[in-house]
Symmetry: C4
Subunit: 198 residues, 4 copies
């Protein structure tokens, strides 16, 4: 299978995931500003999930364009990644329904960590394919390993913290978002102002 096709399907799934999350938002019972203020935290976690999924989309694109065709290992790693990502809208709703309690934030963090883990498996499967072709790994690969390890450490730290300060655990989740904002941040930059040509 060509990697462009895998990417097109993944893009479709990610576009739906990122958008249907809004259906989980509920209009508050109270009217006016007091009612609106009660849903501000819900809008916050919606924003966190939205940008996390968006960042996966950007990084997924960077990953896919490294190979022209893919093998079944990549195909199934990708489907596992999409499956875990598809759970994000549900667990975003979970946190909202449970009013940001410790357990809901912890399980949200577990889902985020699992998505990150599946993304790591996908990257390793693509790297293995690279090396089978005798091609060198892209320059930013080592930086990505550092990012993956840092993310997992942050998620693991967020788990016990969720039991004392759920909000702090969500801030750690947000921190992971910043780590991944630019796919090759601070490493190789083909130019100051351009994203790499795809």
């Amino acid at each position: 299978m060509k990697s462009t096709r895998l990417e097109a399907f993944s893009d479709g799934v990610i576009a739906v995931i990122i958008t249907i999350m809004v259906l989980e938002l509920r209009v508050p019972a109270a009217s006016g500003l007091p009612g609106f203020l009660t849903i501000v935290p819900r809008l916050g976690i919606y924003a966190l999930s939205f940008f996390m999924v968006a960042i996966y989309w950007v990084n997924h694109h960077e990953l896919c364009r490294r190979n022209e065709s893919i093998n079944y290992r990549v195909l199934w790693a990708n489907l596992l990644f999409l499956f875990l990502l598809s759970l994000v809208p549900f667990f975003t709703d979970y946190v909202q329904e449970k009013h940001f309690d410790s357990f809901s934030v912890a399980i949200y963090t577990v889902v985020m960590m699992s998505s990150g883990g599946a993304f790591l498996v996908l990257r390793l499967a693509l790297n293995q394919l690279h090396q089978l072709h005798g091609e060198p790994l892209p320059k930013q690969d080592r930086a990505e390993t550092i990012k993956h390890v840092t993310s997992i450490v942050l998620y693991l730290a967020a788990l016990p913290i969720a039991y004392y300060k759920p909000i702090l655990a969500l801030l750690l989740n947000l921190l992971v978002t910043f780590i991944w904002i630019a796919p090759e941040l601070g490493l190789h930059r083909p130019g100051r102002h351009h994203a790499p040509h795809a």
Copy 2:
């Protein structure tokens, strides 16, 4: 990243946003024509949101085809724009659930104004990229600035008006729709009968 890819993903997200809004419509409890008449205002705001999002799609396309590749500033401005646009279905529902009260119409207007603001930021980021390449700005750019300023003035005017006459504020929202109907309305026209070749 190539701008065609950014556009394809944005198109996917916009197609989902525009369509899932219909899921917020509720079948009225009353039967027959009296029941149907109670949902006519809801169909009205649904139509307003549908066409506003549709118009963003048309104008987004015009914007994207100006550059071949994009930088991270454009990428993130675009994601911010999509995030705000993704809130439109929720705040459309908000107005419906709150029976067009002042606050709900005001917050709807704020979301619309924010989407417009993010679209302006996106345009400026694309213009900056243009000028870095030493390319002249497209002819319709000045007209677009006028449109953006007019839109924001109309939205700002709608805010206090929403507290006296919510319906009038929604009509101002509708007016913005008309401003943007044709991307280069009345300015440069490559031909009378054709949309510019993309």
Copy 3:
């Protein structure tokens, strides 16, 4: 704008419309076969709506490939068509919630007729564009006019019938489906076994 882009966006919207309809189906309260039998009529109207939208997709494709680029009249006729089509899931739910009563079937028929009307407007806008280019209308055009007129007559007939026999009115809706199954049914056939190359 190129017509391929209009078509890609329309395809996205139609793909979402056709699929989210399933979210309106409700699991019956009763268990086992008796419970399932209560939702069979709902599955029936779901199937009717699904195939009607699918048929619009096929015919929309036939229409779009006639022109290479489009003008604003076509663009807006297309958005109006998509808007009306986006109401189909809601009015399918309407019929289900109102247990196939006369009014709900009549309003469903009106929405179907309006979609058909907008599709006719879209075809006429595309034909006008053809003639501006000095190109002859495609051979099947006259047959399509016959189909459009027949469809509207059937829909109009279904309206009063809905007040006596709602099920009969839905059968007339189903009949329209059959009229449009093959875009150039019985007229020009490039070959017995092939759909025209797109």
Copy 4:
């Protein structure tokens, strides 16, 4: 119609089907781990449906790339297949709402079997088109017939079993998933590590 277009539309529909299923998941009323444990079986059937649909996507792609253009028989077989597949989210919800009772698992199995049957009809329609062109059937065709027959036998076996042990019937459904994981598993392999170039 070109088969690439049929595939693009089908991909869109499948991407929406696979993703909206998550909207059927409900946050449990109970808090903490005990609440979460009550939804684990629901996550299980969600995963089963997700991967079954994903596998259809992979196999659908393999099927579509065999022909360059398609006829109406293929077009309608494909729409029937998509219709049946679109019912999967609803019947997944059905099993969840009915707490995995015998009838709900049996009807879920019937829907899965029907999707498989429609996929078989689609394959036969494509094969017929092949033979009209005087082209030989692809090498893996016989293996696919074996897979189709085995799947149907497994689904038929699952039906009576659902009345005694619904969970066992779902395991048979899962078994079908494994049969279809690799489109040409164990038959022709162009290389050990690559999916066929599409």
